[in-house]
């Protein structure tokens, strides 16, 4: 079918592909400028942030466009090699540490998404945080955060990857705790930081294991270090690695992904992280930072593919964790009253879908879900921010302060509705194309149970989003939305968002003074800087699914063509330093017959495993659509009865019925995981571990210190007495004595009489003349 004699065209290249590394560099410089000069600039540094993100967006778009050209110019089954540039920054003992870019389909997709969402969120923040006391620092942290994510996405090796990963961890801490004056916010920031750090240990361990296992192979065969993503991918698929080693490495890396991407059981930090300002939630906790874990798995997919035996007969750890996450997070979303927490649990659940896809071998649908999810989830978060900013008096409580807002906020309502439908997976919104693809492929690869879990998750998603929509936009206005605001609303829910979080009322007033169109005027639509990003994201929430619209036939599968690396055996003609493009493609096998990932490739290496794609069938899609509509309908009826008409059979059910009560208690307490962590882990650290550390400090460390002090005292005494007093001072005194004696001896010569001096002079001259005469004869 695909003849080996097919003429292979050279791959196209371009300026944007070669210089994609500028995308993270520009925001980094922007961060430094904001920190150093931001307060003196007319817009307090925000213009630097927005401009640097715009520059990154231009670079990312250019790179994406040129990558599409590159793929389009390549042969049907040709392996499109990534555009790689490296610089060596340290050399030691024959090992080279490099920093560089690795631009391929996955990179340009995520690069574009991150730059795009970051730009919109920064524009949105101009309005949302106007008059904030740490306005400049907010933009600085936001810009550095985006730079970290872009650096991680573009990383050529695991060291830069780790760097970007950690920068994000730090910036998320700073941004979540932006309003740290309130104790709850700084606790949430600490919780996020430490929970993610727990997972980060896995990343460090995983990278180390991979390096020591793979370095020899990659250096010999490819001339790459064991940190290089390319090298690790080829090594994992070469049939070389020991199955235990690569299994341990894959699990260690997956633990990092669990922490960052909020998977069970480390998902607890993500809902608490909603303490940060809403733009932060939108950027960090829907589309960017939490995607990092999914991105890690997608980036090093061959390692996971081999290590965890993806597509193997039994279910692997990624799928199990993902399935648990989908269900428990969706269930938790039902009992939340805070609109942002509903979205947070929804994010956790959707990340579960991405992980499920990756675990089941549906790489492309998972990456595509990253792409579509970023748009509609960012839109949902920004809508929630718009509501709290303009209608509900900075509250996020759906039950107390919202309701009936659809008349007052038409644009926000439209954006929210579109994004909700996309999230639920209704045809033809974007979520349908990506989520249905994941479920379809999971089933297509033979994991029927997990397909059922996915469908159940889709039902739950539709139901909790309908509940949130009903509570927010329908029914009668309540609380702040109805125009009630004042001391009582401050007292009851002070900590949901920042302006109210400063418990001193004076702060609130000063904010109002700068922000004239505050909620005192009653609910109304937000300003253009807020609605414009919402509108753009809503449009993308509708249409971004068309980039890989499987139902419309193969010609619509652009994302598959552009992004999925082809599982071709690539012949390596390694001819020198790393960083050289040295790939000569050998297109000898047809699609679906590549040995990559199934057996050891001969005469070359693989950079991507061979994956299957399920055939799209309308019958399966209609089934999932029916489930989604059932979820919406059931939830609508129940919500209308419970919240709208206050139906006596439903109101208070959780108090009356024992089963319902225990279930409600379990959910409201978040499965007691926080209790477990706080009483078990944290209190162990705070209690016995801290006491033990104190004892160790007092007894052992201080003992060592005292011992050292005592020894040094004795040594010092010996040194003082013997060396300083006797030796050094002795030498000094002796030389002084010698000088004194010599002076006393010579003293008589200095008689002060001219005659004596003259006599000495002449005598000396005479002696000198005598010597001169003797020497010359």
């Amino acid at each position: 079918m695909f003849a080996a004699s097919e003429v292979l065209s050279p791959l196209r290249d371009g300026w944007f592909l070669q210089n994609a590394w500028l995308a993270p560099v520009i925001p980094t410089i922007g961060f430094a400028l904001i920190i150093l000069f931001g307060k003196r600039l007319p817009k307090k540094g925000s213009e630097v942030g927005v401009l640097s993100m715009l520059a990154s967006l231009v670079l990312a778009s250019g790179a994406a466009w040129q990558w599409i050209q590159r793929v389009g110019g390549a042969g049907e089954e040709q392996f499109v090699s990534p555009v790689i540039r490296t610089w060596t920054w340290w050399q030691s003992g024959g090992m080279e540490f490099t920093i560089g870019q690795h631009v391929d389909g996955l990179t340009v997709v995520v690069l574009f998404v991150v730059a795009f969402i970051s730009t919109l969120v920064q524009v949105y923040s101009l309005e949302y945080l106007r008059g904030d006391r740490r306005y400049t620092h907010f933009f600085a942290a936001l810009t550095l955060f985006s730079a970290g994510m872009l650096a991680m996405v573009i990383a050529e090796d695991m060291i830069l990857f780790l760097l970007g990963w950690e920068i994000m961890g730090l910036c998320s801490f700073m941004l979540i705790g932006h309003w740290w004056e309130d104790g709850a916010n700084s606790r949430a920031a600490l919780k996020a930081f430490f929970t993610v750090r727990t997972g980060d240990v896995g990343l460090l361990v995983g990278i180390s294991i991979l390096f020591f296992a793979a370095n020899e192979w990659t250096t010999t065969n490819l001339g790459l270090s064991g940190f290089s993503i390319r090298g690790l991918s080829a090594w994992a698929l070469s049939g070389e690695p020991n199955s235990t080693v690569i299994l341990v490495a894959a699990i260690a890396l997956f633990i990092a992904a669990i922490g960052k991407s909020g998977q069970f059981p480390l998902h607890t930090w993500l809902p608490d992280a909603m303490a940060g300002p809403t733009p932060v939630s939108s950027l960090l906790h829907s589309s960017t930072m939490v995607v990092a874990g999914v991105f890690l798995v997608a980036r090093l997919y061959p390692v996971f593919f081999t290590g965890l035996d993806i597509l193997g007969p039994s279910s692997n750890i990624i799928m199990i964790i993902a399935a648990i996450t989908i269900v428990i997070a969706a269930a938790l979303a039902f009992v939340q009253t805070d609109i942002k927490r509903v979205l947070a649990y929804s994010t956790v659940s959707q990340l579960g879908y991405m992980m499920l896809g990756l675990g089941a071998g549906a790489w492309l649908p998972a990456v595509f879900h990253i792409f579509t999810h970023a748009f509609f989830k960012a839109c949902l978060f920004l809508s929630a921010g718009s509501i709290s900013h303009s209608a509900s008096h900075h509250s996020f409580d759906m039950k107390k302060d919202m309701g009936g807002l659809r008349k007052h906020m038409p644009i926000t309502f439209a954006a929210w509705t579109v994004s909700t439908l996309a999230l639920c997976g209704v045809f033809p919104f974007s979520g349908f194309f990506s989520k249905d693809e994941i479920i379809d492929n999971v089933g297509g690869n033979g994991y029927t149970f997990f397909m059922v879990v996915g469908l159940g998750g889709a039902f739950l998603t539709a139901a909790y989003m309908t509940r949130a929509t009903y509570l927010t936009f329908f029914g009668e206005p309540r609380g702040a939305s109805a125009g009630e605001h004042g001391e009582s609303s401050h007292g009851t829910h002070p900590a949901h968002d920042g302006h109210d979080a400063h418990d001193a009322h004076a702060v609130h007033d000063s904010h109002d003074a700068q922000d004239s169109h505050d909620a005192h005027a009653g609910p109304h639509e937000s300003g253009i800087l807020i609605t414009a990003p919402l509108a753009i994201l809503a449009v993308l929430a509708i249409f971004s699914g068309l980039f890989n619209a499987t139902p419309f036939g193969e010609s619509w599968e652009y994302m598959k063509k552009w992004t999925e690396p082809r599982a071709a055996v690539v012949e390596e003609s390694y001819s020198g330093g790393p960083g050289e493009a040295f790939v000569v493609p050998a297109a000898e096998s047809g699609y679906g017959e590549s040995p990559c990932g199934k057996e050891t490739p001969k005469d070359g290496v693989c950079y991507a495993p061979q994956l299957n794609h399920a055939k799209f069938k309308w019958s399966k899609a209609l089934l999932s659509l029916a489930i989604v509509f059932a979820g919406i309908a059931v939830s609508w009826v129940v919500s209308a009865a419970l919240y709208g008409r206050r139906d006596p059979r439903l109101v208070g059910l959780t108090q009356r019925n024992a089963v319902a009560r225990s279930g409600y208690q379990l959910l409201i307490n978040k499965y007691y995981l926080d209790h477990l962590y706080e009483r078990g882990v944290v209190s162990f650290i705070v209690g016995p571990l801290a006491r033990g550390a104190y004892w160790f400090n007092q007894q052992v460390l201080d003992g060592i210190l005292h011992g050292v002090a005592r020894v040094s005292r004795v040594v010092a005494q010996v040194v003082y007495r013997d060396i300083d007093q006797r030796l050094v001072d002795g030498a000094v005194n002796a030389s002084a004595d010698v000088t004194k004696a010599a002076g006393t001896t010579v003293q008589p010569i200095q008689s002060g009489r001219v005659g004596h001096y003259g006599a000495l002079l002449f005598a000396t001259a005479a002696v000198a003349a005598l010597v001169f005469v003797i020497l010359n004869t």
Binding site: Q747, Q750, S751, G752, R753, V754, G755, G758, A759, F762
Partner: protein, 99 residues
């Protein structure tokens, strides 16, 4: 030989000068003794100049005479000042720098 007689005269004059410098206590006499030493050198220079048929020695001798005149001028001025301050020109009484 004529040269050796000149040299002998120079040596005698030199010795007399040295004796005067060392032994005399009067500052004026010491200055005069220095003149003797310088002139003995002049005699030596002239003797060798005549012997070698060269004008260099004469030139040097003229220089020395000029320098000696200046030196005596300065020396006598110093002696005069010392006399004014101390009412004495005895060199033995000038020893104030004994170690």
């Amino acid at each position: 030989m004529l040269t050796s007689q000149f040299l002998l005269l120079g040596a005698i004059l030199f010795c007399i000068g040295v004796y005067g410098v060392i032994a005399r206590k009067n500052a004026v006499l010491v200055l005069m003794s220095i003149e003797l030493i310088l002139n003995s050198v002049n005699i030596n220079l002239l003797a060798f100049a005549l012997r070698n048929g060269s004008a260099d020695g004469h030139t040097f001798a003229l220089y020395i005479i000029a320098v000696a005149a200046a030196e005596v001028g300065v020396g006598l001025a110093m002696v005069l000042l010392i006399y004014r301050n101390r009412r004495s020109i005895g060199l033995d009484e000038l020893s104030e720098m004994r170690g």
